[in-house]
Amino acid sequence: MREMAARKSDLLQGTLDLLILQVVASAPLHGYAIAQRLQQLSREALQVQQGSLYPALHRLEERGWLKAEWKNSGTGREAKFYGLTKAGRKQLDVERFNWERLAEAIGLVLRTADEP
């Protein structure tokens, strides 16, 4: 089991959006911070490739779920901060609901399959 947890798993299709929305839900963050948070919150289990993080951020911005703003990063440099919009918050609820349903469904299947 430990070995499995230690392996960095690939993200399920579509779940990256959910994770991003969740991470920026409390406060606007810039891309690097989002990547750090994801890694940190999943206890290093999830590592996001920059190759998919930035396209996802821009896509979510395009859909109106994220709004972006350039502001001081605290280190004296300007960085692009992403925050949740109202629509984004709703979308987060939808995706979370979908995810929980899916997780429950998978769990159901696994539990049932275990029964003799």
Binding site: Y32, A35, Y54, H58, R63, R77, K80, A87, R89, D93
Partner: protein
């Protein structure tokens, strides 16, 4: 600031580099902090980050196609929904396809008939020029579009760059190509016509002024269609010759395919110089100043308006008119109502061609059909909206759930709109295909097989644009109600109680649909009655056993004895055919209408000014005319063999004639009358009186008619008339063979039974009745589907409620009644509004009705009855289903 950013969103995208650089720098910094050497930190970061260019590309691609992804998702979702409900999808697409198909077809025909311009350079400069009686002298018809007038105008035509004259060869000409005979249509045109109109032949040369001389060798330009049909499209026919009428003519040119003639629906195979006219018209026609037989077409000089041209041309027309009446003494001028004053020159645009009888005939039909087709589309639209609404109601739970989960209203609306758009696009596409078949079909029904030669019904940009516009408008209209309904979906309410929310919109739409259906069915009833009334008219003679053969003998240079001998031999030969009871020859009337009216001098009346009402239609009949045609001879005798040459001029008159001119119908045989003015015309002796007949056509009210002896007149136009004892169609071939072997130089122009001709006259009525019935049937069907859909939806939604009611002891009849009641208000309001609509629409189409008023009660009652009968079926099926609900099952259903 915000606005600017919104205006230039690309600026933000351009900072991608900066954004990525920030990430990389941060990462390197973190690696350095962990104790790596700068080189090592940079290397690891590069590895971790991957290709920066690639990331940028992906960002850009993601941005650009995001909306398309959304749209694709919407469409895919919509498709999936429809796959689950194929019957709904099919019904909706079909409804729309019919609505759009009918309208596109009508648009195509309207475009061709009323809008399409002549395929020549600057068609808007072309004008048609007429001289017409002015308001001060409405009966003065002295100004004539004669050949002498044209000669004057050709020399002087102020305001016009040029003026041309043309006229068709009446009845057509028999052409012989490689031994094959064919009746072709010919236009006689002044030598400058092609130049003035601006048509260049695709092969050879046009007709020119030197062809248009009495002594010039006979030359002709032929149409593209005729070139293909008769000469197989061989280019070497130019310069060759063929037999046309009584002479050989040389083909000098072939016209392009796009040129279909100068008047809508009048397509000519052959174009001949105007100086060839004496072959087809009375011999002196080119010098007669009192015959208006030409159409004048001109091209305006640039900068000159039609009104200016009219004023500039007036003195020339007046000079021509003065020259025409110069020889008539003053007192005779007054008597004959001749004056070179009081008329006006009418110059009107001819960019779509000169006045065309076909266009004039089609115009009122099209004007009637446009609102009817619009109504069909409206019904289709309402039906579609109803279908979508019913669906939206059925999906209330689903929509409610989605709203509860946070789906934005815009997202929902977009999804619904995608569903509607998908159906509408499919409907539009099918409708476009349908129109390809409907438009020619309808036109043939309206005008006849020949009509298709006049038009080009192939789809073009304008047609596609029209269909697209109608389709989008329909999508918006049909989508409006359901989308409004969906966007107001209240999540809590929808989830708590799926039966909540009355289908108010659905009911409103259905009411509108009932109203429109009543109006359409009522109008169709009026058209049907009109057709029946025309069919019921007694023609006054048995037309179904009469065959007519229109001959071109009149265009042959036969002298009088030879012409008469030909008619005699023709009658004999045709009478010898088995199945032929009697034969005569005639000119005018008999299903073709009365072409000639003459002023008759009131017998015994004081010679005064001519009154327009003192006119009579004149037809000419050979020996045995009354007996052969089967008209009823009330007194006197038929035209006889001996009524020819120097014998007294005789005529048979009808009752209207006798009543109008003699005030009585008894005792008119033996009296005389003459054309006005009496002192210039020979008298006619009335030898017989016949009952009024509609021999000129069923639609023509009976007029004063006289039938003069063909052999006593100068009239050369000849139609053999055969009374048969069987279906005339069976005799056509042998009659043609017989008459063509009699004199191979004389050909048959047309051969038809009189009944066919009378029926031809009812084309428009038949078309309106047929289309009206089809549209009304469609409307009824759509309405039935709508009613059924609504009630069925109610039954499905209220199954458990009905189950409870039944479990509590409600009897099945009550349940059925409860459901039927849902439709009562819809029907009552719809029918009332529909009757009002029918009365309004009836006024619009009043001109098309005969023997029935626009407020006819039968039509209204019939429409209401039919609608109720259909409604009973549409309501009955779901009501029965509700009555059969088993309470036990119904109550369980909700928890499955």
């Amino acid at each position: 600031m915000k606005l600017i950013r919104r205006l230039f969103p690309r600026r933000a995208a351009d900072r991608i580099n900066e954004e990525l650089q920030f990430h990389i720098d941060e990462q390197i910094a973190s690696h350095l902090a962990a104790g790596m050497s700068p080189a090592e930190a940079a290397r690891i970061t590069r590895l971790e980050f991957g290709g920066r260019q690639q990331v940028k590309e992906e960002i850009r691609a993601g941005r650009r196609w995001a909306w398309l992804d959304d749209a694709r998702g919407d469409v895919r979702f919509a498709l999936r929904t429809y796959r689950r409900t194929p019957a709904f999808a099919a019904m909706a697409v079909l409804t729309l396809a019919l609505g759009i198909g009918v309208n596109t077809a009508l648009f195509t025909v309207v475009r061709e008939v009323l809008i399409r311009q002549l395929p020549v350079a600057n068609p808007h400069e072309l004008v048609e020029i007429d001289c017409v009686p002015g308001p001060s002298a409405p009966n003065n018809r002295t100004c004539m579009q004669s050949y002498p007038a044209f000669e004057l105008l050709r020399q002087r035509h102020d305001g016009l760059a040029g003026i041309a004259a043309f006229t068709p060869a009446p009845g057509g000409v028999v052409a012989v190509v490689d031994g094959r005979r064919e009746v072709v249509t010919a236009l006689l045109a002044s030598g400058n016509m092609f130049d003035v109109v601006g048509v260049a032949p695709q092969l050879g040369r046009p007709l020119v002024d030197t062809d248009d001389q009495p002594a010039a060798p006979a030359a002709a330009v032929i149409s593209h269609a005729y070139w293909q049909r008769a000469f197989g499209g061989r280019p070497e026919v130019v310069g060759g010759s063929f037999t046309l009428g009584s002479q050989d003519v040389m083909i000098v040119g072939v016209l392009p395919r796009t040129f279909r003639g100068l008047a809508f629906g009048e397509n000519y195979d052959v174009f001949l110089p105007l100086t060839a006219a004496p072959q087809f018209y009375p011999p002196g026609i080119l010098t007669m100043a009192n015959r208006g037989w030409l159409t004048f077409m001109g091209r305006l000089e640039s900068g000159i308006s039609a009104e200016q041209a009219s004023a500039l041309l007036f003195p020339i027309f007046r000079a021509a008119t003065e020259a025409a009446i110069a020889g008539v003494p003053a007192e005779m001028r007054q008597k004959l109502n001749l004056s070179a004053e009081g008329f006006r020159v009418d110059v009107r645009t001819a960019s779509t061609g000169v006045t065309s009888s076909q266009r004039r005939g089609l115009q009122p039909t099209l004007r009637t059909l446009v609102p009817v087709a619009g109504l069909v589309l409206t019904i289709a639209c309402a039906n579609l909206a109803g279908l979508f609404l019913a669906r939206a109601l059925a999906r209330q739970k689903e929509l409610g759930l989605r709203v509860a989960l946070g789906a934005g209203r815009t997202r929902l609306v977009r999804q619904l709109f995608a569903e509607i758009l998908l159906i509408v696009a499919a409907g539009g596409a099918v409708g476009l295909l349908l129109a390809q078949w409907l438009a020619p079909g309808g036109l043939i029904l309206a005008v006849g097989d020949g009509a298709l030669d006049a038009v080009d019904l192939r789809p073009d940009a304008s047609m596609l644009a029209f269909t697209a516009a109608v389709t989008v408008a329909t999508a918006l209209l049909a989508g409006f109600a359901p989308i409004l309904r969906a966007s107001s979906t209240n999540a809590q309410e929808a989830l708590r109680n799926a039966t909540a929310g009355s289908p108010r919109w659905t009911k409103g739409l259905l009411t509108a649909q009932v109203a429109l259906t009543i109006a359409l069915v009522g109008i169709a009833g009026l058209f049907l009655q009109t057709l029946t009334n025309f069919r019921r008219i007694d023609a006054g003679f048995p037309a179904e056993r009469l065959l007519t053969l229109v001959m071109d003998v009149g265009t042959r240079d036969f002298d009088q004895p030879r012409f008469h001998s030909y008619l005699g031999r023709g009658r004999e030969a045709l009478a010898a055919l088995p199945g032929v009871r009697a034969v005569t020859h005639s000119q005018g009337s008999l299903g073709v209408g009365v072409g000639t009216f003459f002023n008759v001098a009131p017998p015994g009346g004081a010679p005064g000014r001519m009154r327009p009402e003192d006119s009579a239609g004149v037809a000419y009949g050979g020996p045995g005319y009354v007996a052969t045609t089967g008209m009823t001879l009330l007194s006197g005798r038929d035209i006889a063999e001996t009524d020819r040459g120097t014998a007294p001029r005789v005529a048979i008159v009808n009752e209207s004639f006798a009543r109008h001119f003699f005030g009585r119908i008894d005792d008119v045989v033996g009296r005389t009358f003459s054309f006005a003015p009496a002192e210039l015309n020979q008298p006619f002796h009335i030898i017989g009186l016949v009952r009024d007949a509609r021999d000129g056509g069923l639609k023509r009210p009976t007029t004063n008619m006289m039938y003069a002896a063909h052999l006593q007149s100068e009239v050369r136009g000849t139609t053999f008339v055969l009374r048969t004892d069987r279906d005339p169609a069976g005799l056509a071939a042998s009659a043609r063979r017989t008459i063509e072997t009699l004199d191979p130089g004389v050909g048959v122009l047309r051969m038809r039974s009189v009944q066919t001709q009378l029926n031809e006259g009812l084309r428009r009525e038949r078309l309106l009745a047929a289309l009206g019935s089809v549209f009304a049937g469609l409307a009824l069907l759509l309405m039935a589907v709508g009613l059924y859909g609504m009630l069925n939806g109610i039954v499905v939604r209220r199954t458990s409620e009905i189950g409870v009611r039944m479990a509590l002891g409600a009897d099945r009849k009550r349940i059925g009644w409860m459901l039927a009641r849902e439709t009562l208000v819809i029907l009552a309001v719809g029918i009332a509004a529909g009757i009002a609509g029918e009365l309004a629409l009836g006024r619009v189409v009043r001109a098309e009705l005969f023997g029935v008023t626009s407020t006819d009660a039968t039509a209204v009652v019939g429409a209401v009855g039919l609608l109720l009968a259909v409604s009973v079926v549409a309501v009955g099926i779901p009501a029965r289903r509700a009555m059969r609900i088993q309470p036990s099952e119904a109550l369980r259903q909700d928890y499955l």
